[in-house]
């Protein structure tokens, strides 16, 4: 034991926006047995879906990181966490760091390269190819997305399956514009829990042009009678580029006697059984008056009328 050279904790850094598949990537690594005695440090605030059993079998643990006060500076407790972990009586051999979606990779890479007791082993950027266009157009995050594409060479591409070949090619062209040394790896479809997560170009679904207005609007849709729940979710998912939230009470054709609360956010749909009588109606929040009008009309004709026909 003594006198042995300590090589430092090997760091595997995972970057990428929310929904790009970072957590799924971690699960894949665990399942493949590529991680040994690993600690997971998570700096993102979506839901953490790592399978608890899988983590236990890898003898690691999960630590959650907080972001600090931007007004008084010091970047969260990352510095303190790193100091603490390496002084554990038995420090982990590996550290898997799931960076926040808005993290700029270069400073993090340098941190793990320079910090005592650690060494940067592997850096990967997860890319949701179907969302890239929207992210790069979004003035509030485009600079950060560009920095991520520029800083990291190893990119793991997700959610390309539903895109046309031409659309894929176009996005790849843009990626290489940001980073000519990019090495791409095409991942298998994500195994998301919950409702299917259709992209903008979901097969069989209608499309919604994003430029039909970007102002935030709200629209209510009255639902007459039990409806085709599956079709409704398909429509909502297809409207993902313009739809931010949907919420409301409904009755499904499969179980018309029960009122259910639907809560839909991009990539997630939850139905919960409600007590008592609820008004059957749906509230949609999204971008562009015309977009939501169109979605509302589609719901009325395809979901409710078709449902009762």
């Amino acid at each position: 034991m003594s006198g042995q050279v300590v090589p430092g904790i090997a760091v595997h850094l995972l970057c990428g926006f929310l929904g790009s598949g970072k957590t799924t990537r971690i699960n894949t690594l665990i399942r493949r047995g590529e991680l040994h005695d690993a600690l997971f440090l998570v700096n993102d605030f979506g839901s953490l879906n790592i399978d608890a059993e899988l983590i236990e079998s890898s003898e690691g643990g999960v630590l959650r990181l907080s972001n600090g006060c931007a007004c008084c500076g010091i970047s969260g407790n990352l510095s303190a966490q790193l100091s603490g972990v390496r002084r554990w009586q038995r420090p982990p051999r590996q550290l898997v760091f799931e960076a926040s979606g808005v993290a700029r990779p270069r400073p993090l890479m340098q941190l793990f390269d320079a910090a005592g007791g650690y060494r940067l082993d592997r850096v990967e950027l997860l890319v949701d190819l179907s969302a890239l266009d929207n992210l790069l157009r979004d003035a509030s995050v485009s600079d950060i997305v560009a920095a991520q594409l520029g800083d990291i060479d190893d990119m793991l591409i997700n959610r390309w399956q539903a895109m046309t070949n031409a659309a894929c090619q176009e996005e790849i062209r843009r990626i290489t514009e940001w980073n000519s040394g990019a090495r791409l790896q095409w991942l298998e479809p994500l195994e998301d829990s919950g409702a299917p997560r259709a992209g903008a170009t979901a097969v069989g679904g209608p499309s919604f042009p994003v430029d039909a207005g970007t102002e935030l609007v709200t629209r209510s849709v009255g639902l007459s009678g039990p409806l085709d729940c599956e079709r409704l979710l398909l429509l909502l998912d297809a409207a993902r580029p313009v739809l931010l939230r949907a919420k409301g009470f409904l009755r499904s054709r499969d179980a018309p006697e029960i009122a259910q609360l639907l809560q839909w956010t991009p990539g997630q749909a939850r139905l919960t059984v409600q007590q008592g009588d609820k008004p059957a109606m749906l509230v949609l929040i999204g971008k562009g008056e015309r977009n939501l009008e169109r979605l509302a009309a589609l719901i009325e004709t395809e979901v409710t009328l078709a449902g009762s026909a």
Binding site: N67, N77, Q110, A115
Partner: protein, 538 residues
Amino acid sequence: MAITVYPARHIHTMNPSQPSGGCLAVKDGRVLSLAPLDEIRAFGDVVVDERFADKVLMPGFVEGHSHALEGVIWDYLYLGWFDKVAPDGQQWPGVRDAESIQQRLAENLQRHPSGQPLIAWGFDPIYFAGTRLDKRLLDAVSSEVPIVVMHASLHVMTVNSAVIRAAEIASKRVDGIVRNGAGECSGELQEMPAMHLVFDLYGIDLFEEASRPHALKQYARAARREGITTITDLLNPLSESAIEAMRETTVADDFPVRLVPALNALAWEPEAGSERVRLAMQSNHDKLRFGIVKLVTDGAIQNFTARLMWPGYLEVEGNGVWNAPPETFHHMVQHYHQAGLQLHIHTNGDEAVEIILDALEEALTLWPRPDHRHTLQHVQLIRQNQLYRARALGACLNIFANHIYYWGDIHRTRTLGFDRCQRLEPTASADRLGITFGIHCDAPVTPLSPLFTAHCAHTRQTASGDILGTAETISRARALEAITLGAARTLHMDHCIGSLEPGKWADVAVLDNDPLDPALPLSAVKVHATLLAGVPTR
């Protein structure tokens, strides 16, 4: 229990139906009456306490946005540009040139325990045009004892050669290690990846220290000195040890303020976060009140890290930083709103304000909730249409008025330019629209002193004496309301604090001078004492 009556030269109650009085009668810790003494006697026997007979009384001040870090930072040596007062009352004159910095460090070194690094804070390079603080300047004080000077922003530090050697900084490849043309380290370390090398070596963790009883006591002491009776800690980890430290510290009879800590939402998965607040609320008592949640969206204007809308920064290309993806903020707002908790959301730049207004609109459409009082914090650059939206959404504002004095000159010349300085900290516009608002200092970013904060909102005077945007000045009376009832409303506590009104807690700021006297600047009004629940604090 007996009735105690404090006669005073004058009492400003902030209660619109009874704006002034001559006597304050207290019973069971609450305001019983502000009537003339004869009328008070109708309630029973009274004990008249004359000690404040020549003083002016106001409701105790409410600091709606500051940090317990203020109670830690004074354990280190102060090297800031502005004069400041430590919690123990010691006056620290600002240091304004390289020689003064070296002199103060050298003096301190004589009393410094050997083997320990000498740590200083508060240095603000933005005020040192020309001279750059570097390792040579610090080596002249000592090249043997490690010296670490934290800058005011807490994003940068300067260290001497002893630190560079010990932390092996010269051999590291990090952008934030500043080097000269020949590749030699200058001693300046920017941002966390570079500063971590020093934190890690010496085990420095200011935020951990801020959760300890010592820090809380110092913090309360500093607050009391400035007439504050209710203070926030607006970014608390709410760890078990932090909750326990706050509980244990605040129950003590001699703890002189009421403490309102906010959960740091970004440290928790949303479900766990709201559960945490609910759990902490079981420890609530008269002097400790959990229940609010803090969300930090962007950075700070003076560090060029606030998220700005067009035309961005004056001197620097590119926009600021987000603390988490905008989508996460939507998600968090939804969650905590739906959970029935009150949000305090740090939004410095106008782009940050925009994103949060969108998120609030969304949340309120889905879950209408009357009188939610979600509060946008700082809102330094909030635009007129955003103010209008904030009102329509029922949001409150807590405006960073101190910035006008401390960085106003910098904002005009380097970060924002003339026009946006006219609307910077738009208290008058908020007032015209009838929006509920407070004003704050964000200590330790600027010093704790609600009267000084009110002075800034009233005069809009910068450190150089310039006046920024006279259209946004508010009257003394409105400024005083903002540091009492206004701030109390943003904390949803105006049923028990913020004005001297029968039934409310008898929390009082005792002043030597009348703050409404136009002959005396608000910044010159002296705090004599405070009462908490009718009892003079120590």
